[in-house]
Symmetry: C2
Subunit: 178 residues, 2 copies
DNA sequence: TCCGACTATGCAACCAGTTGCAGTACTGTA
DNA sequence: TACAGTACTGCAACTGGTTGCATAGTCGGA
């Protein structure tokens, strides 16, 4: 159950509401862990019951129902406990490879446009990551441990997109001349 | 619903039983699409109902219940239709990144051993892929379209593992000296 | 001849994640 | 003041995937 732990991490970085969490998930942690607002609300409810977090009406709430969640000591302990666990590698699961294999067994199915589209999507992501890198991580030998780790995580995304772009370029060559 | 299409592809390559499909999934297609025998049996049932495949008692069955599934024209059409669809990129979802981020916000949580373990797992996979490559894809300018595509798919796995190994090496450096 | 390992299939329950929909309050604009 | 848009929370139903368990036959070895 990592969503809870992703939320704990995010809340430790900054106490906030379910809605804000959902939006922040679209950036930062969301590059490696996605969640809809539905999941987030449900999970926040469970976590509060478990005594990991508590919620108070948000000071910025005005008359809305907005609530601010913050991490309790129990939640922090739980996060530390969980972080030390070992876990299996994420599994590679890409339906495009299935399509390719279908194309191989049946014969040309016109996958080239889709291939180009996917390459472009990866290029978009890479560009976005590079922009974040340029903005938030200027070269700095004195950077704090926290910053260095955040940069490292971003580099995982960069490395991932670059790898796929290179592969899609090769794939383009194979499908064009075959 | 890609599992059905992965199964169709696999059955087109070779008609076989649910059990054999499950085992073949552990290799080839399974590098990019995993499924348990449970899922497979359930899905084969649906596909037969849909008229995409048919099953006959397996000739090698002896007195067991073993059945051989093969693709009907309707299944082939469905696969062709589906292959031309476009689909979103698979999402990167790696809980280790959440752990790293927790380590960044709380302070050193002793992630180094886990980091080494994960690097080793990637190295194992890479070695396995390289072995398959050496065995099944000797350099051959005359290789068929099908072989070239299969090789391409394998290279996606190789590229993926190599990227992560490089990243884990860098991560090792960051966590050691911080 | 009994036993354990393996092949082969399947039911039932559960869980995480997704989708569709809805309600409520605020904010700006015509 | 009416209306559109959007911030914010939530319910209910569904889907795909996982887990635990059950069953039944085959085969080799103690």
């Amino acid at each position: 159950m990592s969503l809870a732990h992703a939320l704990l991490t995010s809340l430790l970085e900054q106490a906030s509401s379910g809605y804000d969490l959902a939006r922040r998930f679209d950036k930062s942690i969301g590059h490696f862990w996605q969640a809809t607002h539905q999941q987030i609300y449900r999970e926040l409810g469970r976590m509060e019951k478990a005594g990991w977090i508590r919620s108070t009406p948000d000071p910025d709430a005005g008359r809305t129902r907005k609530r601010r969640y913050s991490v309790l000591p129990g939640g922090r302990d739980e996060l530390m406990r969980w972080a030390a666990e070992s876990a299996p590698l994420p599994e590679l699961r890409d339906e495009f490879m299935v399509r390719l294999r279908a194309d191989a067994v049946i014969g040309p199915l016109g996958l080239l446009p889709e291939l180009g589209r996917r390459r472009a999507l990866h290029a978009d992501k890479l560009r976005a990551y590079r922009a974040i890198e340029a903005r938030d991580f200027p070269p700095d030998p004195q950077a704090s441990r926290q910053r260095r780790i955040h940069h490292l995580i971003l580099k995982a995304g960069i490395q991932y997109e670059e790898g796929w772009i290179a592969w899609y370029d090769e794939a383009l060559g194979v499908l064009e001349h075959a």
